[in-house]
Subunit: 373 residues, 2 copies
Amino acid sequence: MSSALQNDCFLRACLRQSTPHTPVWLMRQAGRYLPEYKATRVKAGNSFMGLATNPQFATDVTLQPLERFPLDAAILFSDILTVPDAMGLGLSFGAGEGPRFAHPVRDEAAVAALQAPDLDKLRYVFDAVRSIRQALLTTDAQGRRVGRVPLIGFSGSPWTLASYMVEGAGSDDYRLIKTMLYSRPDLMHRILDVNAQAVTAYLNAQIDAGAQAVMIFDSWGGVLADGAFQRFSLDYTRRVVAGLKREAEGARVPVIVFTKGGGAWLDDIAGCGADVVGLDWTVNLGAARQRVGHQVALQGNLDPSVLFAPPEAVAREGVAVLESFGRPQRADGGWDGHVFNLGHGISQHTPPEHVAALVEAVHAHSRRQRAPA
Amino acid sequence: MSSALQNDCFLRACLRQSTPHTPVWLMRQAGRYLPEYKATRVKAGNSFMGLATNPQFATDVTLQPLERFPLDAAILFSDILTVPDAMGLGLSFGAGEGPRFAHPVRDEAAVAALQAPDLDKLRYVFDAVRSIRQALLTTDAQGRRVGRVPLIGFSGSPWTLASYMVEGAGSDDYRLIKTMLYSRPDLMHRILDVNAQAVTAYLNAQIDAGAQAVMIFDSWGGVLADGAFQRFSLDYTRRVVAGLKREAEGARVPVIVFTKGGGAWLDDIAGCGADVVGLDWTVNLGAARQRVGHQVALQGNLDPSVLFAPPEAVAREGVAVLESFGRPQRADGGWDGHVFNLGHGISQHTPPEHVAALVEAVHAHSRRQRAPA
């Protein structure tokens, strides 16, 4: 497979290299706000996991947003809970409910029995990665076979997976896992240790299959107290990052770490070994760049709710995010990296034409920002 | 009524004056984790508003936690939604559900019709304040009638009230209010303007009735984007603070502002005119003190989930919060202020004996911290 890309802006921004515009992709860009997604989901028995476990369906929905919008990256269609499912916890999605595990990990015996999964049980994910890479191939102006944009693989962080594994479902107060954390930190650390091994192997297998960047979603790191976050979430994310293959097909594989609600710990997160730190919308992007922009690229951080507003307002707020980061060229001639994204997954209630307005505005304004003054 | 207090540690810490120990109270300290609260609630027709609107019941439940634990402050038992209810929005609490408004404020006509409420409709709140002050009276060692501890009054912030008023209920994504904010900022500002007037008058009436400190709960400020928070939440909180009576019964009335999830904006919030800034558990208390401890006292910030762990772990984590703040005496002989609290309301699943262990540990350790080295 050719590793050449028609559009490598995303990878270059992750590595803090020059780009003609600020690359943009959206968390959960393949999703329910697109009617074509819903149509494919019906074909898959109206089941989320029916989509995720079928490489052809996963490929189809991964490419759908790229047909509509000139996005600068594709992201594997999958779920963060595939790993605990492969550990035997029995994942299901009830109608109108979130995910649920039949066998949550709550006592000493369950913790002792926990093991990193046989990667063969996750083969459908790696098959999807290969299939998507094929589907992304196109012929460029010189007649070469190239990828349209890079493909991002992903996993939940060890802590975020653990919170689902212990709670057995989503939670408002994380009562069960926090009780374990403060009462039996030994059990908590054992779960996180297994998860870190599992996530490392899972992401490396995605890279082997063709993922050109990987993102670790620490979706629930932000519910932890200062101090507990560093010990129970970030330390294990750091361990995963340290174990990842950082080069494939002759190119650097950037690693993105995103802790929702993690703004308070920006300096700590920027030191975890990742190339890119994802930010939610509460963070001032310009201030974050001043603090850690010499060390990592930044990804984010438009409030997804902005997309409910009319296209003119969407464009204006997108431009405000670019202006907050500022011109990516530094005074010393080097470049800081910014990947435009939302600060959280796109809502199912988003009108697709508002997404078009956003992508257009980000591309157009970021080109203007780069023009000589 | 005598304004003398048996225990004025809380007020002194708010004003960054010396105290023999770090005062402690807990958000939602009168609540469902106490069996005696549930018993009183049954007497009130098993209704939250039945408790809140009856000054005798409100007095009884306000004092219940003080009978069990040597807390350093009492807080009025009430709800942040009393103000929009008095505006005629029709508050109800469905069984097993959160609050709901029959007449949410969603269009131009509803916004135009909105007015700050007649305070007479909130007389039950001011009656409760007076009744609680009476119930807090005791006879000290010199035979004087004094208050046991100070009474804190409170209100929701203009933004937090608006989020309920527009959404009509709790929300996961704040879709309706954020759509209004980004599409029709003029309507949003008009609601916030009315709310700021209403909250100012409401808190001043609580102070007139006997509240010795007041707290503004900006519970949902943290869902806003950087920039939007300052314009749509903090600016209106600042306006309320500027309009408050700061002296009553010959004493300073401290103002506490608490923005859940507001750690990123600590410097902005510390400049809003409040005496005390409340912090959730994601914030490093020592770092916050270094940044703004010369300007305001800090309140917080134990993760309420710590209280699910055994008493020894609760005590250890409480001590860790005190150690994070550090010895309140500064090297220059002055004092910085710390009011110990949780970073959010106490959970209904908390064992009361764990609260006893926490209060004991905070008092004992903070006395040791003050001892000459």
